[in-house]
């Protein structure tokens, strides 16, 4: 997190080559098909939005991408190499995530939460942990300074020694992002990062995601707030009943009648009206 980022609304970074791709991911729970043949590709420096009604399979898709679920069929690859079916290894490879219902370590301090995020990037064997030699002290110091930078980056420095569970709700979401960034991901998956936030906090989160993108991390965001998604993302995917319905730029998706109908189950005009109404009343 070196240097300041002058313009948060900076022109979108050049979209680079493909980094994360999913091919025909299908997830079956007993008789329920939560995901059906979903494919997508994420490029370097890109922000993708994933929207869809409740129960559309968005979080399930995240779980498949991060190795928490083993897809019934289909494959997920990072930079062309298939990902292992183990969340820990996936994180090690460079995919980090946050959770829809915040999953911080509640009885650890903010600093310790982020330090846990450093786990995969720290070299500290059990023996070294036991003896606390010079190498250990170096790696601890390095991890703590990185942690301090990250807390600064998300604006939580003053809460460094506070227990995670005592943080205000919005700050808990931010801390989760800092913890995910500590793993030095090349892809960051955010599951409803603005849920429960007011307009001001939502805007701050939007700027934060831009800053993260500008540092070279590609981002996939699940959100219900369509305004947030349409102003944030380079591309938007619409998932309905486990199927990828539409994919395109925010403008394309916004105007697509199928989306409006599937997503809100009502004729387009009315929905357009509803969306505007919703946007005006925060």
């Amino acid at each position: 997190m070196s240097g300041k980022h002058a313009a948060p609304e900076a022109p979108r970074a050049a979209i680079g080559q493909s980094i994360l791709s999913a091919e025909g991911v299908t997830m079956q729970f007993g008789g329920l098909r939560a995901l059906n043949d979903v494919s997508f590709g994420l490029s370097e420096g890109e922000i993708i939005g994933l929207i869809g009604p409740n129960g559309a399979g968005k979080t399930t898709f995240f779980n498949c991408l991060t190795g928490l679920y083993a897809p019934t069929s289909g494959s997920v690859a990072l930079r062309g190499t298939p990902l292992p079916q183990d969340p820990a290894k996936v994180t090690d490879r460079g995919i980090a995530r946050t959770f829809q219902n915040i999953r911080l370590f509640p009885s650890m301090t903010a600093e310790e939460n982020v330090l846990v995020g450093r786990h995969v990037r720290m070299k500290q064997g059990p023996l070294s942990s036991l003896l606390h030699g010079p190498a250990f002290k170096r790696s601890e110091a390095e991890a703590r300074s990185r942690t301090a930078e990250l807390l600064e980056f998300v604006g939580l420095s003053r809460f460094s020694d506070e227990l995670a569970r005592n943080l205000p709700y919005g700050d808990q979401r931010r801390l989760e992002i800092a913890r995910a960034l500590a793993t030095e991901p090349s892809v960051l998956l955010l599951d409803e990062p603005t849920a429960g936030m007011n307009a001001q906090e939502t805007e701050a989160t939007r700027q934060l995601i831009f800053k993260i993108r500008d540092l070279g991390t590609s981002v996939v965001v699940i959100e219900h707030d369509t305004k947030f998604i349409f102003t944030l993302c380079d591309r938007v995917l619409v998932l309905v009943q486990g199927e990828l319905l539409v994919e395109g730029t925010p403008d394309e998706v916004r105007g697509d009648p199928r989306v409006v109908e599937a997503y809100l189950g009502a004729p387009p005009d009315e929905v357009e009206h509803q969306i505007h109404a919703a946007e005006e009343t925060p």
């Binding site: 729970f29 979080t59 928490l68 959770f99």
Partner: protein, 310 residues
């Protein structure tokens, strides 16, 4: 050879029926509040002392030798004492911890277990050693003829098997068909939703403890009648076996608990007969089965798979 095998199978079935009766309490309580009620084994033990107290202190000597009078009274006394203890235990030890992290009730259950066992040892006259239990049933065995010999089945053993099957059937009918049974199933699915539907979860939970304890109390008395003695350490042992049975059958499943009980009984009897080490190691085989089941099939054989939460 065949008669030995069959004899061991019969032994296993008797033990298994008893364990199954206790396992029902484990499985119901776990199904409804996800608590491993360690103290349930002690509820079984307390039941046997309840029956013994009835026989020793309350029962007119005139009917002591007429088992058809004595046995029902023993069973009622045993079940009553077990139920009373279980209700107190639920009210004062577990209910205050309803929303505590999961370790807390488990450790509380350990504490209750130790306290109950010790309370009986300290306060029940003579309970520091095994006490003789009235053989309030037809004594002797039924020698079932098989090729190459006979297979002995104690009449008390037969009583245990029949009682276990009848009570399981009754319980299953109750849970599936009665209004309270439906409330129990609803509460075990989702306590908060059940509350919204007008079910009082506390009442349902107490009822669960009551049913489990009544069965354990009956088992306690039957075990005493069968063995001819009772002891304070019987609860812990049989409790662990019953827990194993409940897990084996798929925790939360009534039929599973009894099936698991029979499986455990057979492992104990046949393992003691045929596996290296003999009867000295029969307990070890049960624990080996327990570990294997928990590791390889934690949902048991009648249960559902648990999904990862995320």
């Amino acid at each position: 050879m065949l008669s030995t095998l069959l004899s061991q199978i019969v032994n296993g079935l008797v033990t298994g029926a008893l364990i199954g009766l206790i396992a029902l309490g484990y499985t119901m309580v776990y199904g409804i509040i996800q608590l491993i009620n360690f103290a349930h084994g002690e509820i079984f033990m307390v039941g046997s002392y309840g029956g013994l107290a009835m026989f020793t202190y309350l029962m007119p000597t005139a009917i002591q030798n007429q088992w058809y009078f004595a046995l029902p009274l023993l069973l009622i006394a045993g079940a009553a004492v077990s139920v009373a203890v279980a209700v107190l235990m639920e009210r004062f030890a577990y209910r205050p911890l309803r929303n505590a992290p999961r370790l807390a009730p488990l450790i509380t259950a350990l504490g209750v277990s130790v306290a109950l066992q010790e309370a009986v040892r300290v306060f029940y006259p003579g309970a520091t050693a095994a006490l003789p239990f009235p053989k309030a049933f037809v004594e002797g065995t039924w020698e079932i003829p098989v090729p190459g010999g006979t297979v002995p089945l104690r009449w008390t053993g037969l009583l245990i098997i029949v009682t276990a099957l009848v009570l399981t059937f009754a319980l299953n009918t109750f849970v599936n068909n009665s209004r309270m049974g439906r409330a129990m199933r609803a509460t075990s699915q989702d306590r908060d939703v059940a509350r919204l539907m007008g079910i009082d979860p506390d009442r349902v939970i107490v009822l669960t403890f009551v049913l489990g304890a009544a069965l354990a109390g009956v088992a306690g008395v039957l075990n005493g009648v069968d063995l001819g003695f009772t002891n304070i350490d019987l609860g812990f042992q049989n409790g662990i076996f019953a827990f194993t049975a409940a897990v084996l059958g798929g925790i939360g499943s009534i039929k599973g608990a009894v099936a698991g009980g029979f499986a455990i009984g057979l492992v104990k009897a046949l393992g003691g007969q045929y596996l290296p080490g003999g009867t000295a190691y029969d307990y070890v085989w049960i624990f080996v089965v327990l570990i294997a089941v928990l590791v390889f099939r934690p949902q048991g054989f009648f249960g559902e798979t648990e999904r990862v939460r995320a």
